[in-house]
């Protein structure tokens, strides 16, 4: 596998408290991979390290086999083609939907391409088109998640990092979100997702990692992981 992103022996601490210890993982262009884990397992810590928002204590993160992400600032990592759908959406709630989308294209060289991407997103999510001048904080949870995803796609990233995209959404919306993940991936974007909703995530992913207290305890093809008894017990609510 020629990896788009490679993480080797990553260790991150908050002060003296270790959050992630010796994590290695990789994702190739065009893949969907998921990191499953309970609250506090270190999922968000991994994502934030990839984005340059946290400084790991140890380890290596390489993009396309050569670029060392640990030496780059967050905005420089974004420029390589890494985009983020944060946990709990984290929209700019005081800004309009349109401003949120425009900020998704901040710093892109080609303005007309950004405008075209925004138009595409408003066509894909007609509800956002109707609400483009509303303050983002006034939208429903599902609509906000659509803004968060659309915002991340404006820059036409090569790798999309999704942090618990199904969290706090109604079941029907959750189905839409996972459908959307397939659609994004079909457009050639690699998706690295962290999730607690193992059942749905394992259905869309190619490969899965299990994270427990900061360490990867299992990894393998998603279908295989879904069949494992330990996974059944921990994440899927009992025996299948």
């Amino acid at each position: 596998m020629s990896a788009l992103l490679e993480v080797e022996d990553l260790a991150v601490s908050y002060g003296a408290v270790p959050a992630v210890e010796g994590v290695s993982l990789a994702i190739a262009a065009g893949e969907i991979r998921v990191i499953l884990g309970a609250n506090g397992a270190g999922k968000t810590t991994i994502i934030k390290s990839l984005l340059g928002l946290l400084r790991p204590r140890r380890g290596a993160i390489r993009f396309e086999g050569k670029t060392d992400l640990l030496r780059l600032k967050p905005h420089e990592i974004h420029r390589l083609g890494v985009a983020w759908v944060p946990e709990g959406r984290q929209l700019w709630n005081t800004l309009t939907v349109m401003d949120n989308l425009r900020l998704g294209g901040f710093g892109q060289k080609d303005d007309t391409r950004v405008e075209r991407q925004i138009r595409l997103m408003l066509e894909r999510f007609p509800r956002l088109g109707e609400r483009q001048d509303q303050i983002a904080g006034s939208l429903s949870g599902g609509e906000q998640q659509m803004v968060a995803i659309a915002r991340a796609l404006i820059s036409q990233p090569r790798l999309l990092l999704m942090d618990e995209p199904s969290l706090g959404l109604a079941p029907l919306v959750v189905r839409d979100v996972f459908q959307l993940v397939r659609e994004i991936n079909a457009a050639g974007i690699a998706v690295l997702m962290v999730e607690q909703n193992a059942r749905q995530a394992l259905k869309v992913a190619d490969w899965a990692y299990l994270l427990a207290t900061g360490r990867i305890v299992e990894s393998g093809p998603a279908a295989e992981i879904a069949g494992k008894e330990s996974v059944q017990v921990v994440f899927l609510g009992g025996h299948a």
Partner: protein, 290 residues
């Protein structure tokens, strides 16, 4: 009624000056999460560089004196950001507070050493003329001050609402991490924000120097305090909110001076602050949770 209108007009003039200083404070606090106690003294430095330009080169005219004030204040703001704010930003808010307070004390006393501790005359630059607008009489300098401050406020408002850098500035104010991950160079925007606030303070300082005909090394103290109060009363969510509160405080001060006593004037801002924060601890227009 005439007294009322006259005092409202006077209040608008002085309130617009508070607004310019307050918006500089608010920009630093909202965008960088830094309480920049040196900001009022950057204003003071702008006043003196303007004064030097006006007295050394009497023919240069109002525009160039104002430019000198902006350059002086901008230079101090730039150096302050590079040497004190940037290295300490993102740590405990007390660090930058104490750091900038130290710079404020240096600037005040440094200037007192150069120019003396007492107020010095500031050249009027504009003709002494009074203009009647209905029942209200304003001096040319008052009108100029109001126009300059209003222009500066309009420029800031346009910047944060209508430009892509301004949008990124508001994005940092609400969620710095997300802004960074979406390609915003946070350090660069923070640098520009302090520079912008300083340049504005410099322009306003020259305008205030002309208005009162005097400059003092300690002029920043009262402006700084009132500007800080304006920001607390408005909350840091909307820059325009800070402008409105600053102008309102200016008007109330003028009315208190006209109807009650001028010795009560400087207490007004504090009464307003206590009253508002008692009922709305996040300010009239709300604040970002930090």
């Amino acid at each position: 009624m005439d007294l009322f209108l006259q005092q409202v007009a006077n209040g608008l003039v002085i309130g617009s000056t508070y607004a310019v200083v307050a918006i500089g404070f608010a920009l630093a606090f909202t965008v960088l999460r830094v309480i920049n106690f040196a900001h009022p003294d950057i204003f003071m430095v702008g006043m003196f560089t303007g004064l030097v330009a006006a007295t050394q080169y009497p023919v240069v005219g109002v525009g160039l004196v104002m430019l000198a004030g902006m350059l002086g204040a901008g230079a101090v703001g730039f150096v302050l950001e590079r040497t004190v704010i940037a290295p300490l930003r993102g740590r405990d808010v007390l660090m930058t507070l104490i750091g900038t307070l130290g710079v404020a004390i240096m600037l005040q006393n440094g200037m007192a050493l150069i120019a003396g501790p007492d107020p010095v005359a500031f050249p009027s630059l504009l003709p002494r003329r009074s203009i009647d607008i209905g029942p209200v009489a304003l001096t040319l300098r008052q009108i100029a001050n109001f126009a300059i401050c209003l222009l500066l406020l309009a420029l800031v408002s346009f910047y944060v609402r209508g430009t892509s850098y301004g949008r990124a500035t508001r994005a940092i104010a609400e969620r710095p991490d997300v802004a960074a991950a979406f390609g915003v160079n946070v350090g660069r925007i923070c640098q520009f924000t302090i520079l912008l606030a300083s340049l504005m303070a410099g322009a306003a300082a020259v305008s205030v120097g002309m208005l009162y005909g005097s400059a003092s090394a300690f002029v920043g103290l009262l402006y700084g305090l009132k500007a800080f109060i304006c920001m607390l009363v408005a909350g840091n969510r909307y820059f325009e909110g800070v402008m409105v509160v600053a102008i309102a405080i200016g008007i109330i001060e003028a009315l208190v001076t006209g109807y009650l006593s001028s010795s009560l004037r400087d207490a007004v801002a504090f009464f307003v602050m206590i009253g508002v924060l008692y009922y709305r601890p996040n300010g009239l227009f709300g604040s970002y949770s930090s």
